[in-house]
């Protein structure tokens, strides 16, 4: 009796897991299939579930005529630079906010929580007027600056969360041995922070890679577009074929999927311990 009940439960559990897996994989699988269909098989009725042969024509068009490689490199450059800077500065302030006692610290932490709630699209208009005056519109450096700003508060909160969990005694013994505080930070604490650094950087990279609204407002020349802006301009142009758009979507998703696969463990830790946001 007891055993059969357990078997039923296990089967139900397996069915549930299979359901979630299918739900998660199916959309991506279908867009990938669309992108490798020969173009003439994309708009058929009834729908062809499987291409008669694999065709890379959509990707050739994407990287050839549509020049997607350029947008891809722009996105890589922007996302990596902004994430690097915000990770480094977040480590500085996160360290101080986690490890040192001083007046006003609580206020600063609460302030960071409020700042990280402000979404990009609310800031983009005043930023646009500011950046017009500074001649930073339509420049990758301008958008990098915006992304550093968007990531700074949350990266700091995350860094603080990781620093808090590193035992104080380790650093104190280094200080006793005559290390300066900065030296102790680099020699003792930072190596233990590597998972934290991976989490902060990956998280920030994903955010930057996916940001579209500020980028679409700021970057208006063809040579400066990032990947989301390019996808956006594709759908605005009449006559873009879905197989090419599908290829563009697939390419645009690869970097963040790769980052997630590599850093999932760290990201999950960063999300669930001492931080509130996505």
């Amino acid at each position: 009796m007891k055993r059969s009940k357990r078997t039923v439960l296990n089967i139900l559990r397996g069915a549930g897991l299979a359901f979630y897996l299918a739900l998660a994989i199916f959309p991506l699988l279908w867009i990938f299939i669309t992108s490798i269909k020969p173009p003439e098989e994309v708009y058929t009725f009834p729908i062809k579930y499987w291409p008669s042969k694999i065709s890379w024509a959509s990707y050739e068009y994407l990287f050839g005529f549509a020049d997607f490689g350029k947008y891809f490199l722009n996105s890589i450059f922007v996302s990596i630079s902004a994430s690097l800077v915000s990770t480094v500065i977040a480590l500085f302030s996160g360290y101080v906010l986690a490890k040192m006692r001083f007046k006003g610290k609580y206020f600063l932490v609460v302030f960071l929580f409020f700042v990280q709630m402000i979404p990009a699209y609310l800031l983009m208009i005043p930023q646009y007027t500011m950046f017009s005056n500074l001649n930073l519109i339509n420049r990758l450096s301008g958008i990098i600056l915006v992304y550093i700003g968007l990531g700074a508060a949350f990266s700091t909160i995350m860094a603080r969360g990781f620093f808090v969990r590193i035992p104080k005694s380790l650093e104190e013994s280094a200080l006793m041995d005559g290390c300066t505080r900065l030296k102790a930070l680099f020699k003792v604490t930072l190596p233990l922070m590597l998972p934290g650094v991976a989490a902060i950087f990956s998280f920030s990279f994903v955010q930057n890679w996916n940001e579209i609204f500020t980028a679409a407002l700021f970057l208006n020349s063809d040579s400066k577009m990032t990947v989301p802006v390019a996808l956006y301009s594709f759908i605005s142009k009449a006559g873009i074929q879905w197989n090419v758009l599908a290829a563009g979507i697939v390419v645009s998703l690869i970097p963040t999927i790769a980052v997630f696969a590599f850093a999932q463990k760290y990201i999950v830790a960063g999300l669930t311990k001492g931080s509130v946001k996505e």
Binding site: F102, P119, L122, A153, N210, L231, E278
Partner: protein, 295 residues
């Protein structure tokens, strides 16, 4: 004394980069947004800007569609959060006990978290295409419908469609948060319940849910705000259309910027969003015991 001074400057210089970046790129723009809201800054008038009082606010509120947009926003947040939580919690419960390949499995179901909302919107608009979409095709083959549905170009189905996609997109986040909370429940609690002969359902209601309640509350709060400010999926699918049927406050603001080029009117809407956020947060914190928040 000397040491104290050194310590002060150390703290100061470590904090300067982040807080000056935030000052320059978050605080100052927020203040500037409040000012812009009372001006007439459009792309065409930027060299003769004047203060025009509450005109922008009036223009937004008297828009005949404004109430619908507000209602859409409420639906967008409420329905999304409810089902994301329900399905996310379900997934987390399935993942609580270890099994072979759990690591890889969770990677495969959690990955949507990392994807671009806009690209996901685009992707699903292809799946939901009225003519060549695979969803229509499958529904037809299963005899659930008799002819293809124009999911995104029909105002009656557009909201439902963007909601389903947003729910799909948000399941992993809730699952990740719930799973972490579930894993912090000590096994001994369940063992004790087993000895008392508690049923699976009783354990869920009496142990599991009370244990993860604080996590659920704080996640729902944070996520509601986040979803309200998440126009990406809608923008990839409908841009707020057709006929404003999927327009929420955030897409409305972006549409005002992109298509009317009226920065001041958009800023006025932004001010209203910020005030709404504040009110919502205070109400929520007041409603639930603040001590339970996992800030």
């Amino acid at each position: 004394m000397m040491k104290n001074r050194k310590r002060f400057w150390f703290i100061f210089w470590m904090l300067v980069p982040v807080f000056s970046v935030i000052g320059f790129l978050s605080v100052y723009p927020t203040i500037k947004g409040f000012i812009l809201a009372f001006q007439n800054y459009t792309v065409f008038t930027f060299n003769r800007i004047e203060f025009i009082g509450w005109d922008n606010f009036e223009e937004i509120i008297t828009d005949p569609d404004f109430l619908m947009i507000l209602w859409n926003t409420v639906i967008w947040i409420g329905v999304s959060v409810f089902f994301q939580l329900l399905l996310g919690l379900g997934l987390a419960l399935l993942l609580r006990k270890p099994f072979k390949g759990r690591g890889i499995y969770s990677g495969l179901v959690f990955y949507p978290w990392a994807l671009s909302g806009f690209a996901i919107g685009l992707l699903w608009s292809w799946l939901l295409n009225g003519q060549f979409g695979i969803i229509n095709d499958l529904l037809l083959k299963m005899n659930i419908i008799e002819e293809g549905i124009q999911f995104l170009s029909n105002p009656d189905t557009a909201m439902l469609s963007v909601l389903i996609v947003n729910i799909w997109y948000g399941i992993p986040f809730f699952a990740i948060m719930c799973l972490a909370a579930l894993q912090s429940i000590p096994d001994s609690v369940y063992e004790a319940a087993d000895i008392d002969g508690a049923s699976g359902w009783a354990k869920l209601v009496k142990i599991t849910l009370p244990y993860i309640r604080p996590t659920i509350i704080s996640t729902v709060l944070v996520r509601s705000i986040w979803i309200m400010n998440f126009p990406d999926v809608i923008y990839g699918m409908t841009r707020g259309g057709p006929a404003n049927s999927t327009e929420i406050l955030s897409t409305h603001m972006i549409n005002i910027v992109y298509y009317e080029n009226d920065f001041s009117k958009a800023s006025a809407l932004g001010v209203m969003v910020i005030l709404l956020l504040l009110v919502y947060t205070l109400l929520y914190l007041g409603f639930f015991n603040r001590g339970e928040m996992e800030l």
